[in-house]
């Protein structure tokens, strides 16, 4: 057991967790933030993507204790009164169907737009498709996810 503290969606949180608890389990089971999903057991699908200290990570690849002191944003923490432009773009462009991969796609999408803007690179369709390598969707064929991220990129 370890006592850990972190800021999750702007709220300071302190909990006792077992040493082997994955960060995604901590978010889902301890904090009941069930918007972050688990779609595989090999860190391939990206459904558990969150932001940790401003960077997108897969919350299944990290222990909760490793996130001690971190600042975390999950999909539940994005909308601040209004929807985040990335969330809005997914709705506007029909970027989701069953919705299961969607939180991970949105978190990955925001991260990629931020990185490309920071480095001054152009986030074109090929770049979006390449950047989405770590997120699997079975419903949309990615067509409208790519459109959603491109749309949000223009508005962020």
């Amino acid at each position: 057991m370890a006592n850990i503290s972190m800021t999750v969606n702007g709220v300071s949180t302190t909990r006792d967790v077992a040493d082997h608890t994955l960060l995604v389990e901590f978010l889902r089971e301890n904090l009941r933030l069930t918007g972050t999903h688990v779609g595989c057991d090999t860190s391939q699908c990206g459904a558990c993507t969150i932001h940790l200290d401003g960077k997108a990570i897969k919350a299944c690849t990290m222990l909760a204790v490793e996130a001690d002191g971190a600042e975390i944003t999950t999909v539940e923490g994005l909308a601040n009164g209004a929807l985040h432009p990335m969330q809005q773009a997914f709705n506007d462009n029909h970027g989701l169907q069953c919705g299961f991969c969607t939180p991970g796609m949105i978190m990955a999408g925001i991260d990629m737009v931020n990185r490309y803007k920071a480095s001054g690179q152009r986030l074109d369709e090929a770049a979006i498709r390449h950047e989405l390598e770590g997120n699997i969707c079975r419903c949309t064929g990615y067509h409208n996810i790519v459109k959603s991220i491109a749309d949000a990129s223009a508005k962020m």
């Binding site: 999903h37 459904a47 169907q97 919705g99 299961f100 390598e133 699997i136 079975r138 996810i145």
Partner: protein, 786 residues
Amino acid sequence: MADGIGARVKRKEDKRFITGAGKYTDDVRSENQAFAAFVRSPHAHATVTAIDDEAAKAMPGVIAVLNGAELTGDGIGNLICGWAITSKDGSGMNMGAWSALATDKVRYVGDAVAVVIADSAEAARDAADAVDVTYDALPAVAATAQALDAGAPQVHENAPGNLIYDWELGEEAATDAGLAAADHVTSIELTNNRLSPNPMEPRSAVATYDAAEEHYTLYTTSQNPHVARLVLSAFYQVAPEHKLRVIAPDVGGGFGSKIYIYPEEIVCLWASMKTKRSVKWTSSRSEAFLTDAHGRDHITTAQMGFDSQGKITAFKVDTIANLGAYMSLFSSAVPTYLYATLLAGQYDMPAIHCNVRAVYTNTTPVDAYRGAGRPEACYLIERIVEKAARELNMDPAELRRRNFIETFPHQTPVIMNYDCGDFHGHLEKAIAAADVAGFAARKAEAAARGKLRGLGYSTYIEACGIAPSQAVGSLGSGVGLWESAEVRVNPVGTIEVLTGSHSHGQGHETSFAQVVAERFDLPIENIQIVHGDTDKVQFGMGTYGSRSGPVGLSAIFKACDKVELKVKRIAAHLLEANEEDVYCEGGEVKIRGTNKSLGWHEIGLAAYTAHNLPDGMEPGLKEGAFYDPINFSFPAGCHIAEVEIDPETGVVEIVKFTAADDFGTLINPLIVEGQVHGGIAQGVGQALLEQAVYDENGQLLTGSYMDYSMPRADNLPSFDIAHNSVPSPSNPLGVKGCGEAGAIGSPPALMNAITDAIGTEDIAMPATPAVVWRAIQSTHTAQAAE
């Protein structure tokens, strides 16, 4: 109207999903939740000689360890297959028993032997590892081609030679005569690769037994919660139907794999009663690869005859279909009535004969997966037609044109009666959109860069909304395939629509609301779609086979007819007008030729106060309908794939993918196109990337996303989608299903493009770089030898 039929309305349901507020089964947590973990066979075939659970039972947090003897001892029934197929000699299916927990034998890797119930998921998993099962390993058979071999290991004693049925459709003598009389016969041998369905949400179940009420509640990842309740109660005797509530909340994709009632759902319900705890199980992705019903897995040889003008004279097909270790719920129907009945494709064929042998192997059960039988039929027809065109030195589009069915209704030689279509129109629209005229120049330009460019067609037809119930019953179906709906107008004039269809990504909450909004000219915000809960919706057959539009929506439409009738009677009475003068417009109920009108809230209030209703009218405003279609609907279209191949690496790039589809009336083109995108992506997956692979011992080699190649964003292009709609005459809205067409039409288009590029037909799906590279090398070797 703005949000009515044909409008690209943004989805109402999106908000909860994009904010993380969706409620999936694994998000459900009961008070005092217990967790299940299954002990699964590591052997493909073995006798279970002993189960030692003493150590597991002593572990911290463990509540119970339960096995198959206890399960069957409590009277829990074996899993059923819901469609009886009769062999050509008149005999029934040779079906082996499938217990939710194996009692004496295990027959595939992943077959459940025991279950641990514990206070936490990890305690359950740890204890499951500690259950010591003694197996006596037996020889296994995994390959479809080897299942019928003399001396092949026997999967079930009552299926001699592993043969489940030997079935035929069509006239063999007429077909043989047609081939004998043909000027040219094209032959082909094809494998339709086995696929893992992979909805992104793994299966999950939360079962809660209420001892005081003797009542069960099951949250589950189901495409058809009412069918689950019926089967769980009537056949598995887990709980009586009136004491079982099944809820399929937000479900993260299905693609067929969540139609079936799996052992885990049975066991969770039973274990909940045994332990008096709410029992939850959520599949890991590894378990999903092992236990979610797989799709496809056919081996086929076929011959197609042509006369001197290129007209098809006959089509003869011989297929072996691998159904895995047990017969899953609708497995028997997939390679028969969902496959052979579509073998005419879009073509006027005088004679067809198809023979299908279904076999057991020591592999995961195989059942319907997006398209279910129709992709296998389409792949065969479109590969052989394209091959024939090349052998006849004819433009493949022209060979298709010469054989297209042009008048409707059209009775095929294999049961189906096509009600409408425009096959020439789909082809020409796709040819224009794909710029086929410019292909030769693009091919030459690619060749100058050292690349091989190819173009392939697929003119597909499929059948969805299986119907009518009487007909499917006569063919062996154990269920009727109608749908039900209830339209409730509240006293304040808002509307709830309860539907037996189930949305697991299809957007029913939006598209169904559009139909009702259009029907009554009401704001779409006033209409709420309710589904997925057997306590709310009286009955439903669920969503699969692209049936929600043609069948589910038709039931809603029919219920709206009844509501409209009553609304008109109430309005006519209150406003002292004739019923035939009453109409709905702008959110009100109006009287033609007058300025009289009533709001829906006024109609609703009148109906529920019942102070002033027409003589003899019952209070309330709620109508239900059951809709049984008169025919299937027949979506059809043309896909054209253009690929560029690097001969040095075998990597296939899809440079352009064009689809011109006929889904009849489009309710929401935004949603329809999304369905097509996803379907094509799954077809690309089958053609280029995906295959569930077993070794000779029946071990699944593709058991994770590290081994099983899912389509990723950078494997796919953006798609060009065009519509060429011919409204269906077989349902009131004229709709045709759109959920599966993409997965049905696309694989042959891609493989025809690849074979066009590399100049050999001898290549199988998935056309991975290694497969393509070897095929290219073999053509070089063959050319060098000539």
